[in-house]
């Protein structure tokens, strides 16, 4: 009875008792690396080499996080949605969908990060940072009413949509 391939330990595919398989394996070994652009090693320019600490390209999530922070900084700086959309190179609708949280709470996000840094420096024993932290301890966001802001944004959005509807879906 012939042994079945894969069932008996020590059985080799190169066994000359299977001439067809043996010839195929030899042919592949002779051919070497397969042809085609996807199998050819690519050369990179020096400028294309990533110099990150990890030596890795940022992932999509990391890039998105960076953009979120950017939007929060713009909001903290007092820029309006139209200006931010122009800087980011996207439509207002897309900006509102992708960065809704940052548009709403951008000021708080950046302010919290600043306070965290100040606190870290203060903990290190930097007196100036401690003084500043104490001075800004009671600081509040200047004249703001989140509910009114949200309502105004919603109303602006309604007018924008209405104008779009009146023009048959075009701006």
């Amino acid at each position: 009875m012939q042994p079945r391939i894969g069932l008996i330990r020590g059985f080799s595919a190169r066994d000359n008792r299977i001439p067809i398989l043996f010839n195929r394996i030899n042919a592949v070994a002779k051919r070497g690396r397969p042809k085609g652009s996807k199998n050819t090693p690519r050369l990179h320019l020096t400028s294309q080499v990533i110099d990150d600490a990890d030596g890795k390209k940022p992932t999509a999530a990391e890039r998105h996080r960076a953009l979120k922070w950017q939007v929060a900084v713009y909001v903290h700086g007092g820029m309006d949605v139209v200006g931010i959309a122009a800087v980011m190179g996207m439509t207002i609708e897309k900006l509102r969908v992708l960065f809704a949280w940052e548009l709403q709470h951008g000021w708080a996000l950046v302010h919290a990060e600043e306070l965290r840094r100040l606190d870290a420096q203060s903990a290190e024993g930097k007196t100036a940072a401690t003084k500043l932290a104490l001075a800004t301890g009671g600081a509040e966001r200047p004249a703001e009413n989140p509910e009114a802001d949200a309502a105004k944004a919603r109303h602006d959005n309604v007018i924008e949509l209405a104008l779009k509807l009146m023009h048959g879906g075009k701006k």
Binding site: A151, R154, N157, V158, I159, L161, A162, L163, L165, M166
Partner: protein, 143 residues
Amino acid sequence: MTIKYEPPETYRGIEIQNFQTRDRIEGRVKPQIDLVMGLGNIAELFRYCSDVSKPPEARLLAAAMLEAIFGQAANDRRVRPEIDLELVKACSAGLEQESSWRSPTSYGCLCDQQIGDGPEPEMRPVELTKEQLESTYPVRSSR
């Protein structure tokens, strides 16, 4: 003496309809558009949209805003406001400039009627009526 109508223009993204005098555009239509843009209440918008005495541009805007409010609620997966979109569309039907149902004698649709003691449609000056009739329904030459 013929009243010259102003060429169509756009105000706050809304096209002002033709066959209107400059006085009416400045004194009536534009302030009404401003007024509607400030409205946020659904009931007020619907009341405005169904009021035949109001300028058609502003009524169309009110109808579009109601539709937008409904669409926004649907997009945000919120509870839909109680708006009968079909009724809104019926109230604002035939008000467009290109519509063949546009009334030559009044600022509005041919179907706009005074209901009871309610507001009545604002009448168009006779000269403009004649011009609009000629423009909307050109006389075909018989062979």
